[in-house]
C-alpha cells in the first residue's frame, strides 16, 4: 500500500512540474485579438462606431450639462445644496474628490482610448483593390477618429488645463503618464484637427449622415483656436481663425498647406501615406495627386465647397423650410425634422444603444430636463429677461402649464421655465427597440459664423465682424419681421454685441460656462449672478483658480503625485 501511495505521490510530483506547459498560451482559433482584429475597413468602422458611442452615452451627456450649463448663469438647479456633490460643483465649493469632476475626466478618456485604438491600428488594414475609393474610405475613418479624439481632448483641456496625453498604444508597464502643458495639448489637438480637415469629405451621401465632416473638424478647430486666444490681445490664433472663417463662410480658397501649416519637415509622400492617400507609385491616370498647394475643395471625396452645404436659414437637409417656415421653424432645428439641417455642422447620432426598449428614451438629448418631476435645471423669468430682453427667442422657453408646439402640456413647477431646445416632440420619441433618440446638436453653423465675426473683430476688421454678426441677427429677424440689427462701434462694443448674440443664440446648449471662461469674464458674470441668489451660487467662483477644475484626486493618488494638481486646489 505504501509503495502504491509512494508511486502516486511521485506521479503527482511529475505532473505538477508539467502542468504549466505553454499549451495554455495558444491563441483560441477564430477569436480576434487586438493584434489581428483591425484588418478590414469594416472592422475599423466598427471600432470607430465605439468612439462615437461614448458621445451618446448618459455618462457623457450627464457631465456635459452639469459643467457647460449648470455651472453657469442661465439656469438654476434642483440640486444646489452644499450637501450633494452636484451642489458643491455648481457652487464652486467642491474639493478634488468630486464625483462629477471624476466622471468628466473618465468619460472623455474613455473616448480617447477608443479613438486611439482606431488611429493606432489603421495601418493594419489591408485592402484588396487598387481603387482610390478604397483608400478614401479608410482615410475617412481615420479622419473621424482624429476629429473625435481632438474633441475629447478639447473637453478635457478646457476643463482641466493641460492633461496627460495617452500613448496611442498603451503599455501596462507604463500606465502613469504625467500631464502635458496646455500648449502641448492644444498643439496635439490642432494637429489632429488639421489632419482631419484634409482627410474628411465636406459632405457625405445621405445614408451616411452623422459622420464627422470637414466642416465639423474645421468648426472645432476654429473653436480650439478661439480658446487659445485672448480677447483684446492680438494673436496668430485669431488670424488663423479668420482664415478658416474666410474659407468656411465666405468661400475663399484654401490650400492643404495652409490647413496643415505644412513646413516640409515631414516627407510629403510619407505624410500622404500616413493619412491614407493613395501612394504615389500606385496612382493611375485618373487618380488625383494631392500636393501641399492643392486646393482643399479638390481633395478626392469632397462633393462641394462649404458655402453650398450650410446655411443660417431654418431649413432641413434638403433645403425645405422647417415646420413650414412658421415661428416654430427656429426650434425645429433641434427636432427630428431638423436632423442634419442646413444649420447643423455636427450632431450625435447612432442608434445602436439608444434603444427605446431599455426605458432610456432619448440618449444624447437630455429629455430628463423636460419631464414632469424630474427637471434638473431650469430657467426663471428673471433670468430670461436678463438673457433675452425683448428678443423673439425668448418665446422658445416654455413655462409651467403651457403647451409645446405639438400640444403637450408641460408641468415642471411653478415659476420654472425650460428651453424648447431640450424638448422631444411626441412624434420623435422612440417607441420600439431600434428606434433612435433625438440627436444632440454639438456644433451649429451659426456658432461658426459668430466665431468668424469674433475673429474679424479681434483682427481689426470691425466692419466685417458686424456684417457677419448681422447675418445671424437678420436670420432671427425673419421670425418676427424685426428690423433690429447690431450697430457699428469700437472694439469693445462690437465684441460685446457678439457676446450678446452668442449668449442668446447658443443659450441652453451646454456651452455657456466654458464660453464665459474663455472670454475672461467668468468671475464677473458669476459674481453678479451669485449676488442676486439666495444661496449665493456663483459668488464663490475664484478668478485665477476656478477657470479650470482640479485634477481628480484619484489620478493624483494612483500616480503617486506624478500627475500634478492644478494651482489653487
Amino acid at each position: 500500500m505504501n509503495k502504491i501511495f509512494g508511486k502516486l505521490l511521485l506521479f503527482g510530483f511529475v505532473l505538477s512540474l508539467t502542468a504549466c506547459d505553454d499549451f495554455l498560451d495558444k491563441d483560441v482559433l477564430g477569436r480576434a485579438t487586438d493584434e489581428t482584429y483591425y484588418d478590414t475597413q469594416y472592422k475599423m468602422q466598427s471600432a470607430l462606431d465605439a468612439v462615437y458611442d461614448v458621445l451618446q452615452s448618459d455618462s457623457y451627456n450627464d457631465q456635459e450639462w452639469r459643467f457647460g450649463e449648470a455651472c453657469a448663469d442661465d439656469v438654476l438647479g434642483t440640486d444646489e445644496g452644499l450637501s450633494s456633490q452636484m451642489g458643491q460643483l455648481v457652487n464652486f465649493r467642491f474639493n478634488t474628490s468630486n464625483t462629477w469632476i471624476l466622471q468628466r475626466w473618465n468619460v472623455n478618456y474613455k473616448g480617447i482610448h477608443r479613438a486611439n485604438q482606431v488611429i493606432a491600428n489603421i495601418g493594419k488594414v489591408s485592402i484588396s483593390t487598387n481603387q482610390n475609393s478604397a483608400y478614401t474610405a479608410i482615410r475617412n475613418i481615420l479622419g473621424q477618429a482624429k476629429f473625435l479624439r481632438a474633441y475629447y481632448y478639447f473637453n478635457l483641456v478646457k476643463t482641466f488645463g493641460g492633461v496627460p496625453i495617452r500613448p496611442e498604444i498603451e503599455d501596462v508597464g507604463n500606465l502613469v503618464v504625467p500631464r502635458s502643458t496646455k500648449e502641448e495639448c492644444y498643439a496635439y489637438i490642432e494637429k489632429d484637427l488639421r489632419e482631419a480637415i484634409i482627410t474628411l469629405p465636406a459632405i457625405y451621401p445621405v445614408e451616411q449622415l452623422g459622420k464627422a465632416t470637414r466642416g465639423a473638424a474645421m468648426a472645432l478647430l476654429m473653436k480650439v483656436l478661439m480658446y487659445q486666444a485672448t480677447p483684446g490681445v492680438p494673436s496668430q490664433k485669431w488670424e488663423e481663425m479668420k482664415q478658416f472663417g474666410e474659407y468656411f463662410i465666405d468661400g475663399k480658397p484654401m490650400t492643404i498647406q495652409q490647413v496643415l501649416k505644412y513646413d516640409g519637415s515631414e516627407d510629403w509622400e510619407a505624410l500622404r501615406q500616413r493619412l491614407w492617400f493613395k501612394p504615389q507609385n500606385l496612382l493611375t491616370e485618373s487618380d488625383p495627386y494631392e500636393k501641399p498647394e492643392t486646393s482643399l475643395d479638390y481633395i478626392s471625396g469632397a462633393y462641394s465647397p462649404m458655402v453650398g452645404i450650410y446655411s443660417l436659414a431654418y431649413q432641413d437637409y434638403y433645403g425645405a423650410p422647417l415646420h413650414n417656415g412658421d415661428k416654430y421653424s427656429y426650434v425645429y432645428q433641434w427636432y427630428g425634422d431638423g436632423e442634419f439641417c442646413r444649420g447643423s455642422v455636427f450632431e450625435v447620432v447612432f442608434k445602436e444603444s439608444a434603444d427605446g426598449s431599455s426605458g432610456d428614451t432619448n440618449e444624447g438629448a437630455g429629455i430628463e430636463f423636460f419631464d414632469v418631476g424630474t427637471v434638473k435645471i431650469y430657467c426663471t423669468n428673471d433670468i430670461a429677461t436678463k438673457l433675452f430682453g425683448t428678443d423673439v427667442r425668448r418665446q422658445y422657453l416654455i413655462a409651467h402649464q403651457t403647451t409645446t408646439p405639438d400640444g403637450e402640456i408641460w408641468q415642471g413647477g411653478e415659476g420654472r421655465q425650460v428651453s424648447l431646445k431640450w424638448y422631444t416632440p411626441k412624434k420623435d420619441k422612440p417607441k420600439f427597440a431600434g428606434d433612435n433618440g433625438r440627436n444632440r446638436r454639438i456644433i451649429r453653423y451659426v456658432d461658426v459664423v459668430l466665431m468668424y465675426a469674433e475673429a474679424l473683430n479681434e483682427c481689426g476688421d470691425r466692419e466685417g465682424a458686424i456684417k457677419n454678426l448681422n447675418l445671424c441677427k437678420a436670420q432671427v429677424n425673419t421670425i418676427n419681421a424685426s428690423t433690429k440689427l447690431y450697430v457699428a462701434g469700437g472694439y469693445g462694443f462690437v465684441r460685446d454685441q457678439i457676446y450678446e448674440e452668442r449668449h442668446m443664440e447658443l443659450a441652453f446648449e451646454w456651452d455657456r460656462f466654458f464660453d464665459i471662461v474663455r472670454q475672461g469674464r467668468a468671475a464677473k458674470v458669476l459674481h453678479t449672478f451669485g449676488a442676486n441668489r439666495y444661496n449665493s451660487r456663483g459668488l464663490y467662483f475664484r478668478p485665477g483658480v476656478n477657470e479650470i477644475f482640479p485634477i481628480p484626486q484619484t489620478e493624483i493618488d494612483v500616480s503617486n503625485g506624478v500627475v500634478e494638481q492644478n494651482p489653487g486646489y
Binding site: S97, G490, G492, G544, V545, Q553, G561
Partner: protein
Amino acid sequence: MKKSINILLAVCFAFFFAACSDDNEEARTPEINVTFDKTNLLINESMELHVSGVADQVVVFTGDKGHEYELRKESNTGFPVNKGLFTYSYATPGTFHVVVVASTYDTFLGNNIKESIKEFDVTVIDDVTTIDQIYTAITPNIYYAELVNDKDWVLCLPTKYLYNNKEVKVNATKQRLNFEIVSDSSKIFIDNEPYKSNSYYNLTVAHDIQVLSDAGTTRDYKLYVPIYPEFSSVKAEGVTGKLTRDAYFQDLQTYTFELPDGTDKTKVKIEYATDSDAKFYAGGNEVPSGSTIDLTNENTEYTLIRTLEENPAVRAVSRIVFAY
C-alpha cells in the same frame, strides 16, 4: 428519530444563547500624524496636508465659511481625505482654524466612535495691488486704458464719436470708471477718496490712483486721459477739408478735400491748425503747416500726436486719412 430531534433542538437552543455573543470589537484608537507644507499662504495658494496613521475615516474642516469645525452641527461640513494627501486653498484672507478629525468605528457601525483631532491655524493673506484693466464705458463704446509703464495708465478719448450715423459729443467731465483687479479685498482710492463704481469722475484731468491690498501694501498709479487730437482747420491747396469720423475706430479721422480738376495731387500744400499742441506727422516725420505732401502715396501713414509735456510716455495718436 425522536432522540435525534431532541439533540438537534438542544443544539439549536444552545445556539440561541450563543448567537448574541458579544462579537463587537471596540473601536480602535485612531492615531494620525498630520504634516503640512505651510501655514502662511497667499490667497488661492495651495496648501498640502499629508495624513498618515490608523483611522477609518479622516475629515478636514478647513475653517473657512461653511467648513468650520465648531459649526459642524449647524450644517458646516468637512472634506473627506481619500488617501494620504489633501490639498486646499483659500478664497478670502484671514486666519483659519484647521481641524483634522480622524475617526474609527466599532463593528456596530458608529455606535461607538473614537476620534482623534489635530488642529492648527493657517494665515492667508491677500496682497494684490495690480490693476489688470481700467476702462470707461461711454455708450455705446468702451474705452480701455493702456499701461504705458509701471505706473502710468493712458485712456484716450475722442471729442465726438459716430453712432447710428450721428455724431455724438463725449462729455469727458462726467464719466464712470471701471477697474479690473483680481482681488475682491483690495481697495482703490482715486485722488485719496475711496473709489465707487457708480460715481462720476472728471476725465479731463489726470487722477492719482492708489491700490491698498488687504495685507496693507499700497501701489500708486496715475491715470491720464488725453483727447485724440484733431485739426481745428486743414486746407489742401486752399481747399478746406471736411472731417468724417469712423464708427468703428474712434482714433481715425478722414478729411475730404474737393480739389479742383487738374490739381497735382502728388504735390499738395497742406496748411493746418490743430486743436491743441499736437503735431502732424507723415510716415513718422513732422510736417509743419505749409509743407507739401503727396496725397497719392497710399503707403504714407499720417498721424496727429499729442504728447504730454511733463510725461512723454503719455500720448494720444489720431490716425489721419486724406480723401479727395
